[in-house]
């Protein structure tokens, strides 16, 4: 790896975040093949096991969407539009392929647009089911095997069980590191800010997993060493939403007089808190993780028991975060046109309030133009929290 010393710690995370994709650009020059993917539901283990580098496509709140609209409708969620806009503008010119999971409508109904407009050598849609029952899991495993075959056709090499198992364990190590990182947020004031965590995690999905793990580890060490340098602030906030791949919103909250100490976001706790089990057939553990463990609004869980049990099943992890991270208030941050989370708002809000945390629900458009309005709402919310 180049710049051994300089490629570590918070400053490096910051740089990888600001110059997003810089690491894979180098790897590309060294002959690596880079596969872009959308959303935390892409089974990156399989891509890595094929000897390819998975690279998460990212948007940019500061970049007005100008090119995407010529090929993609404005009724698609603004996050996906920003991803696509950045891709069309050549920001990810190093990609050799793209993998899109059937996550939500905005992602999957635009598959043809992505595939045919970017015209990359490789493309694949993983038609993930919405339910978690037995037949759905079996079907999903079959899809993952089709994906496995398709990738090996692309590289000309079989993907062995052994390389899959190795990838699984590398990703699990990475996730364990993220959980360790989150421990630093439990202190009051937290040892690491929400913005620092966000930048680090976003940067981490732009490079090979082993390097990401080293980077996170170096940040943990640095933060422990620097000790409690963050000032006390009156409120500890948790942010809940879909994918937040830009630090602007977290900054906004932290600039308004609170710390963001927990989240249910991607990249974030939703994405890193559950491992893939090492199973005799490695596809089994991967399938379990993506279909059953990751709690995303796009996955339908069948109701068992009464309605309160159901809310607990769907949102219980949020309740546990609120308790473990001593959260004072929750911001529900949902993009306009986001179906999986938009439909969850009333149930999610009432659940969170039932565990005792006040909720601020914000609908946003992933654009700098709305920042002023958001700031006012956040300040008002923090005032209410402060007066409690």
């Amino acid at each position: 790896m180049p710049e051994e010393a300089g490629s570590r710690g918070l400053a490096a995370a910051d740089r990888y975040y600001e110059d997003y994709g810089s690491r894979v650009r180098e790897l590309k020059k060294q002959g690596k093949q880079i596969i872009g993917y959308l959303c935390a539901l892409t089974p990156v283990e399989i891509i890595a096991a094929a000897g390819l580098v998975p690279f998460r496509i990212k948007g940019d709140v500061n970049e007005p969407i100008t090119k995407a609209d010529t090929e993609m409708e404005t009724i698609v969620c603004p996050l996906v539009r920003s991803w696509f806009d950045m891709s069309l503008k050549g920001k990810y010119e190093f990609l050799d392929g793209i993998v899109i999971p059937h996550a939500c409508d905005s992602i999957s109904t635009t598959y043809n647009v992505w595939k045919n407009t970017l015209n990359l050598p490789y493309s694949h849609l993983i038609n993930m089911p919405h339910s978690t029952d037995g037949p759905s899991l079996k079907f999903y495993k079959a899809l993952l095997n089709t994906f496995r075959t398709s990738l090996s056709k692309f590289t000309g090499k079989e993907i062995s069980d052994q390389s899959l198992n190795q990838a699984i364990s590398l990703y699990n190590q990475n996730r364990a590191k993220v959980r360790e990182l989150y421990e630093l947020r439990k202190a009051s004031p937290p040892l690491i800010s929400g913005a620092e965590v966000a930048k680090l995690l976003i940067a981490s999905v732009s490079m090979p997993v082993e390097e990401a793990t080293l980077l996170i580890d170096s940040v943990i060490k640095e933060v422990k060493q620097r000790g409690g340098v963050l000032a006390a602030k009156p409120a500890r906030i948790m942010v809940v939403g879909a994918e937040v791949d830009d630090v602007t919103f977290i900054d906004l909250i932290e600039d308004s007089g609170a710390w963001v100490v927990a989240d249910d976001l991607c990249p974030g706790a939703r994405e890193f808190f559950d491992d893939a089990d090492v199973t005799a057939d490695p596809i089994e553990g991967i399938a379990e993780r993506y279909l059953r463990k990751i709690k995303c609004g796009r996955t339908f869980r069948e109701k068992k028991g009464d309605y309160d049990d159901y809310l607990e099943e769907r949102f219980g992890h949020i309740g546990r975060f609120i308790k473990d991270f001593k959260v004072d208030g929750v911001v529900l941050y949902i993009y306009k046109y986001c179906d999986p989370y938009g439909f969850d708002v009333p149930a999610m809000k009432s659940y969170i309030e039932s565990v005792g945390a006040p909720v601020l629900y914000l609908e946003d458009e992933y654009s700098m133009s709305t920042i002023g309005r958001l700031r006012t709402r956040i300040q008002a919310f923090l005032e209410v929290l402060g007066s409690k």
Binding site: E73, I75, S106, F343
Partner: protein, 445 residues
């Protein structure tokens, strides 16, 4: 909640066919049947069109309540705004599917007061026994809407049936994967039958199911043959009417009534062709409705097109069937397996064709096919802002059509299915006028 003054309801749209004019009363009768079922304690299932389970519900004698239809009715009657606002007050974003918002607004209102909202369009929508969603790349509301509705009706069980279909890919053929798709769908449908037996006091009669499927297969064929007649010049039936005849196709599939309806339509169209009777006497432009759900509150726009000499002999929207005899279905004895094969083969219908034309895909191929078969001069699409199912991808399809086939005049209208506040009649008509000018210019070239 006070009842708002209802916006003025439009007078009825003039249809070209007698068949289409019969549809309004059919919808009304179906809604009345729901309310009667409720009174009599018969099981009612909230259902989505195009979820592959119509025949199962019919065979089990469960009364379907098509929630998209009811929202559409509110749209047609221009009485959806109060339900949309109610949903918004519950914190549902106004950017979500307005069918769903209308339904959720209605349901939360009904559950809150314990009775129907005042003066509900056509008597209202009764509380269901079960809610049947589905999981596929058609739309997220198919599993989110009823889950959200459960927040107001926590005791009403929801089943989500996985109904995927193979995507069109370059590096493998759908036949490589169809086996496990079919297997999965069969298991999900079997799960649905078990769910319905558990939550309604009905038992599946498998012979009856086979009969119902036989009727629906014949109906698929009859629809296809009737719609094919619209290739005639002058065209005897346009898309405006098809937005009515979609009712028996999507809400009554598996019933003898639906079959008879399309047989009548077939006969009527044949007669019109024999008499050279078109939607408009002087047909100048033949247009394809190339995608998008219609603005239910503005169906008279089709008449406006007609007044300019334009007719729509074909549409992509709601043409949800192909002739079953063309689908190359394997012979199977399990009726659920037949349903699964029909579903997968329907979706893969144009895969082979698309492969023959570089740069094409099944959606684009379908546009090309209709343009040729129906002698089309221009393509019109509608971008409904709240529905991310059929609408994303339309721009690309249109661009691609022009890139790989030919430059053909096109128009994308923008509004919504139910939310009338997104619609501006003057603007829409000005855009239609401009489009007609373009068509004229191209014709006289």
């Amino acid at each position: 909640m006070t009842e708002e003054k209802k916006p003025e309801e439009r007078k009825r749209r003039k249809t070209a066919t007698e068949a289409a004019s019969r549809v309004g009363p059919m919808v009304k009768a179906a809604l009345a049947e729901n309310l009667r079922a409720k009174e009599e304690g018969r099981p009612i299932a909230y259902s989505f069109i195009y979820s592959g389970y119509d025949e199962i519900i019919r065979a089990m004698d469960i009364v379907p309540a098509w929630t998209e239809n009811y929202a559409g009715v509110c749209g047609v009657k221009r009485d959806a705004q109060r339900f949309l606002e109610k949903a918004e007050s519950e914190n549902f974003s106004r950017s979500l599917c307005t069918y769903a918002l209308c339904g959720l607004g209605f349901d939360s209102w009904r559950e809150e007061t314990g009775e129907m909202p005042p003066n509900p369009p056509w008597g209202g929508q009764a509380r269901p026994t079960v809610m049947l969603g589905s999981g596929q790349i058609i739309c997220d509301p198919r599993y989110k809407w009823y889950q959200a509705a459960q927040h107001y009706m926590p005791d009403v069980p929801v089943y989500v049936a996985g109904l995927p279909y193979p995507p069109y890919e370059d590096d493998y053929d759908y036949r490589d994967v169809q086996g496990y798709y079919v297997k999965y769908i069969v298991e999900e449908l079997r799960g649905l039958v078990a769910f319905l037996e558990r939550h309604t006091n009905r038992k599946m009669d498998w012979d009856r199911l086979s009969e119902v499927i036989d009727i629906s297969d014949r109906t698929w064929n009859m629809i296809s043959e009737a719609y094919d007649l619209r290739k005639a010049v002058p065209c005897p039936m346009g898309t405006g009417d098809a937005m009515n005849t979609m009712v028996p196709m999507t809400f009554m599939m598996g019933t003898q009534e639906a079959y008879d309806f399309f047989k009548d339509l077939y006969d009527e169209l044949q007669l019109k062709i024999a008499n050279r009777e078109g939607v408009i006497p002087d047909e100048k432009y033949r247009l394809l409705w190339g995608g998008g759900l219609p603005s239910w509150f503005a169906l008279t726009d089709f008449n406006y097109f007609n007044s300019k000499g334009a007719v729509f002999p074909a549409e992509v929207t709601y043409r949800l069937v192909e002739p079953v005899y063309n689908l190359d279905l394997p012979r199977v004895s399990d009726p659920l397996e037949h349903l699964a094969w029909r579903w997968v083969k329907y979706w893969a219908y144009r895969h082979d064709k698309a492969r023959k034309r570089p740069g094409s895909n099944p959606d684009v191929e379908r546009l090309i096919e209709y343009i040729e078969d129906y002698k089309i001069d221009g393509v019109v699409m509608h971008e409904a802002f709240s529905c991310r199912s059929w609408h994303p991808g339309l721009i690309w399809q249109l661009n691609q059509l022009k890139r790989i086939y030919r430059d053909i005049p096109s128009l994308i209208l923008e509004s919504d299915i139910v939310d009338i506040s997104s619609y501006n009649e003057a603007d829409t008509r000005a855009r239609i006028d401009a489009f007609i000018d373009t068509l004229e210019a191209v014709k006289s070239r």
